[in-house]
């Protein structure tokens, strides 16, 4: 096709674009994925029976603070990688804050616990399944983000895939908190984070293939 004809054809369809349309698009994809993950937790894994009591306790909010702040930081990075001119990433260091805080908390916890109980505290009841469940719950959220990316323009596909996987993992961990009864900081720091990292790695592997446009 002749380039002038192409331009004429493209010019017939010029809708108005809202200022924060990238954010909206990502938000919609995330929300869609979150609904599916939430449904899986409620219908398949089950909400922890003591949720309303736990919500008044420290450890529940420690977990949520960790996973939610990680989610926000991951979305901030993902939103940058959704635009083509993403050579310089800002706010990447935000990701380190929740990890550092939780690690500090874990250190305090170890100091207050006799060394004989450390292993039990670290492994909890569910260390073998926790990372895999987080990864499973991340899948629908990642698919939601893939839908978002279909209208966006990432140019660093592996990094964008990793960031989307990280965001999906962190949100999945947030949802998983309403099922998981574990209470220790080092449990969350290890096994939740492992699930989130698995999701980010899957995103990095899939990014170059699925995010091309």
């Amino acid at each position: 096709m002749n380039t002038d004809d192409l331009i004429a054809q493209l010019s017939t369809d010029v809708p108005r674009v809202r200022r924060h349309s990238v954010g909206w698009r990502l938000g919609l994809g995330l929300a869609g994925g979150l609904i599916v993950s939430l449904t899986i937790v409620v219908a398949v894994m089950g909400v922890r029976p003591d949720l309303s009591v736990a919500m008044h306790g420290f450890s529940f909010w420690m977990k949520w603070t960790y996973t939610i702040s990680l989610s926000i930081a991951a979305v901030v990075v993902t939103a940058q990688l959704a635009r083509p001119d993403s050579a310089r990433l800002r706010w990447l260091w935000l990701l380190a804050i929740p990890v550092a805080l939780l690690a500090g908390l874990g250190g305090l916890e170890l100091l207050r616990t006799p060394p004989g109980e450390w292993l039990a505290m670290w492994l909890g009841e569910s260390w073998m399944v926790c990372p895999w469940r987080v990864l499973t719950l991340a899948a629908p959220i990642f698919v939601g983000l893939l839908w978002s990316f279909r209208r966006l323009a990432p140019t660093r596909l592996r990094a964008a895939g990793a960031a989307a996987g990280l965001a999906a993992g962190a949100f999945a961990a947030t949802v998983y908190c309403i099922h998981c009864p574990e209470v220790s900081a080092i449990f969350v720091l290890t096994w939740y984070s492992l699930g989130i990292v698995l999701a980010a790695s899957a995103g990095a592997l899939l990014g170059p293939r699925l995010l091309r446009w």
């Binding site: 380039t3 192409l6 331009i7 493209l10 010029v14 674009v17 990238v22 635009r83 050579a87 209208r151």
Partner: protein, 179 residues
């Protein structure tokens, strides 16, 4: 006519606000820009270049929502152009020398690239200023001899001689002295 950043950015923003006329003018102004960009960097046939220009126009149109009104237009545009170039040559599975490759690899090999760039800067620093500038213009920035000559107000043969002498003494330095 060469459009400048402010003009292009203004048209882009008007287009995002729904002004189809501004959007059309923008796409028209981008054609010569993209043609010269791909001629300089992609090193392909005329058909390849025109394919790339069209693919990029389509991308600019369909992904216009990813432009942030507060950021420079040129860097958004050329990020898309570069991406389309890499994607195009990956798809047609042909190995083409892509100039500015070190820039493209920044994400994966930042260290290596910066070391290479420092080496180049060091080496060029050992040459007379004119020779260094001409080598930079013709061999690194990708200008033709005629363009480099025009830019510096020199004769074409002068540019050629400077580049030739400069490269020769660089070669001597690398083979002889540096370990």
């Amino acid at each position: 006519m060469r459009a400048n950043e402010d003009e292009l950015r203004g048209l882009m923003i008007d287009g995002l606000d729904g002004n189809a006329g501004a959007h059309t003018s923008l796409l028209r102004l981008l054609v010569p820009l993209l043609r010269s960009y791909y001629r300089r960097h992609a090193n392909g046939s005329a058909d390849d270049i025109e394919d790339l220009v069209q693919e990029t126009l389509i991308a600019v149109h369909t992904r216009r929502a990813t432009y942030d009104r507060d950021r420079p237009f040129a860097s958004w545009l050329f990020a898309i152009a570069r991406y389309k170039m890499i994607d195009h040559f990956r798809r047609v599975r042909r190995l083409q020398p892509i100039e500015g490759m070190e820039e493209l690899l920044v994400a994966e090999a930042f260290e290596g690239a910066s070391i290479a760039r420092i080496d180049v800067d060091d080496l060029l620093g050992t040459l007379p200023v004119k020779q260094a500038r001409m080598i930079r213009a013709t061999r690194i920035d990708g200008l033709s001899v005629a363009e480099a000559a025009a830019a510096d107000g020199l004769g074409e043969s002068d540019v050629k001689v400077s580049v030739h002498r400069g490269l020769k003494s660089l070669m001597a330095r690398i083979q002889g002295g540096g370990r």
